[in-house]
């Protein structure tokens, strides 16, 4: 690349960094004060770009119409954020952190379908900015004027935010509440009002970040999750809660990405390497590298456990005799079902069993081990691909099924080594990053994995294809694996994991190598997720990169959280209800996401302890009354 081309790439990178920074700053602010990882932040960005598109159309593309439309879009999204905070999140501040996550994810689903309903499925490209529609000559090349405006926007917003946070009483209160919100409350600071205003400001920034993009990129319905993963990366690389960190990280990632596109294909020592293909993962690679060397991000600091939010996990009880009987009865019922049910129900049941194992393996690291993974689908998907690839390379199906879980296990062993060095939100983000890397490799390696088309013709051996044989195989393997995982929770290894979760320091002090135990736990969960993935591949006969994409990981989280994280059986209940609901609703309506999101919200608000947790509580209350 020539020097002038490099300079243009640098400017391109800076231009795209600005919007990324606006959105990331909003997410970082909201996390800092409320400790909520707002999954719906990408949706706010998406609402910003769609709203700006409509407003500019209504106001007309003139100077006032365009800029007024862009600014109003930000304000509209900010108001929407305030309403969401007051009506929904406010009820959840005392609920476990992960439940808030679930609620914001339900919002993602609802907002997506809302946008589909209002604006339709087509991509919408906004008008050019009046007065900035042209190009200027820089270093002998044409460069869009609008991008110059964007380059300036980022630092201006950074400066304004800095002034707001350090020079106003509101900013001082926000910083105080970020550090110790309970103490701020005891000094007379009304947190409810502070939280609403912070959420509104964060949403405004996200909306504005979207709105300023209308001349540059079309509004697309899938942009909510795309920008979300970008923004997560920026916030984590910069350090959660650090606004200057978010700016630095946005610039770093924007510029590196632009250079990857600019370099394109190069031939090194006879090997062709495509840098533009790298753009899908480069930010995740940057994040992984940064987190390994600076676990709290570039400008972040170690997060203490937020005061006043320290919820101690209650101990897990040994299953009662009644529980055992119920389990045996459920298994017997599942074994007898094929005698009476139709083909369709069996397919659905197979799905439920597979996802139950997937969810239980995720619960194993989230519940007893306290490691929140946002990227568990990677191990599910790699297990599935291992099975498919082994079969394609002439390995008998039975052997492929037996070896495939190792695909998930080996990946979990490798990724886990990095992940267990972190905790909390950072760990969750790193798992997400690894899942995205795994996805992108599978997605792009056409020659080996079939790329975006995936692999087809992955059917079980003939003796398993007939009648109900595969259903029984799934039932036996999943039930055995789930029981084994549950059993492990009550072994010394399981106790060590729980000790490490409750107090890493004390566990270390009594001689438990917490990291090592967590690493093993992570790998073990990977093996079982891999088994679920392999069974999934054989039951469908084909796989695509979707098997290990982010939405699948989120499905797993929803299942575990719906079931209730403090219960062992919860993950199974959650998987069953979620898979069944999804199946029923997708057959009924085009807007299945909104319906599913609505149901999740209702569940979260009605049963903050999860379905199984709710049933257990009722059960205990009744048992208590009977005894009294």
């Amino acid at each position: 690349m020539s020097l002038s081309a490099q300079f243009i790439q640098l400017l391109n990178g800076l231009a795209s960094a600005s919007s990324l920074f606006l959105v990331a700053a909003g997410l970082s602010l909201i996390f800092g004060v409320t400790r909520i990882v707002n999954f719906a932040h990408g949706s706010l960005y998406m609402l910003g770009i769609y709203t700006a598109y409509s407003l500019v159309n209504v106001f007309g593309g003139g100077m006032l119409g365009f800029w007024g439309g862009v600014l109003c879009a930000g304000i509209v999204v900010g108001l929407f954020g305030a309403i969401v905070e007051r009506l929904l999140l406010r009820r959840l501040y005392h609920a476990p952190e992960l439940l808030q996550l679930l609620a914001t994810f339900a919002l993602v689903l609802i907002v997506r379908d809302f946008a589909l309903w209002i604006w339709g499925p087509e991509d919408l490209l906004g008008p050019r900015a009046p007065g900035l529609g042209g190009a200027v000559a820089i270093a002998g090349r044409e460069f869009p004027q609008y991008d110059l405006f964007l380059i300036a926007l980022g630092p201006v917003v950074l400066l304004l935010l800095w002034l707001l946070l350090t020079r106003t009483r509101w900013g001082t209160l926000v910083r105080a509440a970020t550090e110790d919100r309970e103490m701020a409350g005891a000094l007379g600071v009304n947190q409810a009002w502070l939280f609403t205003s912070v959420f509104a400001l964060g949403a405004f920034l996200a909306g504005l970040g979207g709105a300023v993009q209308i001349p540059r990129e079309p509004a697309v319905l899938t942009m909510d999750l795309t920008i979300l993963s970008d923004v997560f990366v920026v916030v984590v690389v910069g350090g959660m809660g650090s606004i200057p960190g978010a700016f630095l990280a946005a610039v770093l990632i924007g510029v590196i990405k632009a250079f990857c596109i600019g370099i394109g294909n190069v031939s090194l020592l006879g090997i062709d390497f495509s840098f533009s293909k790298l753009t899908l993962v480069i930010e995740f690679i940057v994040m992984a590298v940064v987190l390994v060397f600076r676990p709290w991000g570039l400008l972040g600091r170690q997060q203490g456990i937020p005061r006043g939010a320290a919820a101690v996990e209650p101990p897990l009880h040994l299953p009662s005799r009644g529980m055992f009987m119920a389990l045996v009865a459920a298994l017997a019922l599942l074994a007898l079902l094929p005698l009476v049910s139709d083909r369709y129900t069996l397919v659905l049941l197979t799905d439920i069993l597979v996802f139950a194992l997937f969810a239980v393996s995720l619960h194993f690291i989230m519940g007893p081990a306290g490691m929140h993974s946002f990227g568990h689908a990677a191990y599910f998907g790699l297990g599935a691909y291992a099975a498919a690839l082994l079969l394609k390379h002439a390995v008998p199906m039975e052997l492929a099924l037996a070896l495939a879980p190792l695909g998930g296990g080996i990946a979990a062993l490798l990724f886990g080594w990095f992940c267990v060095r972190l905790s909390g939100v950072y760990l969750a983000m790193l798992t997400l990053a690894f899942a995205q890397i795994a996805w992108s490799v599978v997605y792009q390696w056409d020659a080996f994995t079939g790329g975006s088309n995936g692999l087809v013709g992955i059917w079980p051996a003939p003796w398993l294809s007939s009648g109900n044989a595969f259903y029984y195989l799934t039932l036996v393997l999943c039930a055995a694996a789930i029981l084994l995982l549950w059993r492990i929770v009550y072994t010394p290894f399981g106790y060590a994991l729980r000790a490490g979760r409750d107090s890493p320091l004390r566990a270390d002090a009594i001689g438990i190598d917490v990291r090592r135990q967590q690493w093993l736990g992570f790998a073990l969960a990977g093996v079982f997720a891999g088994l679920a993935g392999a069974l999934h591949a054989f039951s469908k006969g084909s796989i695509s990169p979707d098997t290990l994409a982010i939405p699948r990981s989120v499905d797993g989280l929803v299942m575990v959280l719906m079931g209730g994280i403090q219960t062992l059986t919860g993950a199974v209940a959650g998987a069953a209800v979620f898979t069944w609901l999804q199946d029923v609703i997708t057959r009924q309506t085009e807007f299945w996401r909104a319906v599913l999101g609505g149901i999740i919200l209702l569940l979260v608000l009605a049963f903050p302890q999860g379905i199984a947790g709710f049933i257990r509580e009722r059960w205990e209350a009744r048992a208590g009354k009977n005894r009294a």
Partner: protein
């Protein structure tokens, strides 16, 4: 002015306070004595609303407050100084004071940063210093100054002498007596009997969440047996 009647409090399933009743009046310094884990901190946290009581009545200046949020109680003029010096370490001294600021009250002394710097001369020289770069004693003074910025009518102090050098403890005692002079109602928890003797008018002894003794500080000082039973280690 401040009164608890039959209050029960718990953290989750752990019941901490049992039918606790106590009171403190304007211009009076009342000390809550007891060993570690007796329930002293929980009593103060219950008063300020950080631990909502399961049952019982709490009133402040004739108003029932047991169902209010901490910020609402603080805005009625009840100040709370936590143990373990929870200052905002990212914020400077002046900013810490800003967080505690409330509108002046007609019936309570009015505090400004300048007036507080006269009470705590050490803080005057470090207005822009971040809380993280202060010594333990300076941090303890800042927590008290920060609460006073709310112009409270009554103040709860959780173990103010804990972990302080003797010289600072003397200074702390002097400060508390000055607050009493200003007409404040002061309720403090303590393990340090010597310190309590310096400042308190009346004392309660709490053990395992029950009030075991109530009387004037002078009477307690004279009662060897009570001290031996509930306070000696």
């Amino acid at each position: 002015m401040l009164e608890m009647k039959g209050v029960n409090s718990a953290y989750g399933r752990a019941h901490i306070l049992y039918d606790l009743s106590l009171s403190a009046n304007r211009g009076e310094v009342v000390v809550l004595l007891g060993r570690n884990g007796a329930g002293k901190s929980t009593t103060l946290k219950t008063l300020i609303g950080l631990v909502p009581p399961l049952s019982g009545e709490i009133s402040f200046d004739g108003r029932r407050i047991e169902r209010l949020e901490p910020y609402q109680i603080a805005r009625l003029g009840l100040g709370y100084v936590p143990e373990e010096r929870r200052i905002f370490t990212d914020l400077s001294v002046m900013e810490n004071l800003e967080v505690g600021k409330q509108a002046p009250r007609a019936d309570a002394p009015r505090w400004t940063p300048e007036k507080l710097f006269r009470l705590f001369p050490n803080l005057a020289g470090m207005r822009e210093r971040p809380g993280a770069h202060m010594s333990g004693g300076e941090q303890q003074m800042l927590t008290i100054a920060r609460t006073l910025m709310g112009n409270p009518r009554a103040i709860l102090l959780d173990e103010p002498s804990e972990g302080l050098a003797p010289v600072i403890v003397e200074q702390m005692a002097k400060t508390i007596l000055e607050l009493k002079q200003e007409g404040l109602c002061v309720l403090l928890s303590e393990q340090n009997l010597h310190f309590a003797n310096l400042v308190a008018d009346r004392a309660y002894i709490i053990e395992k969440g029950h009030i075991r003794y109530e009387g004037s500080m002078a009477a307690l000082a004279a009662n060897e047996q009570i001290r031996a039973t509930y306070l000696s280690i």
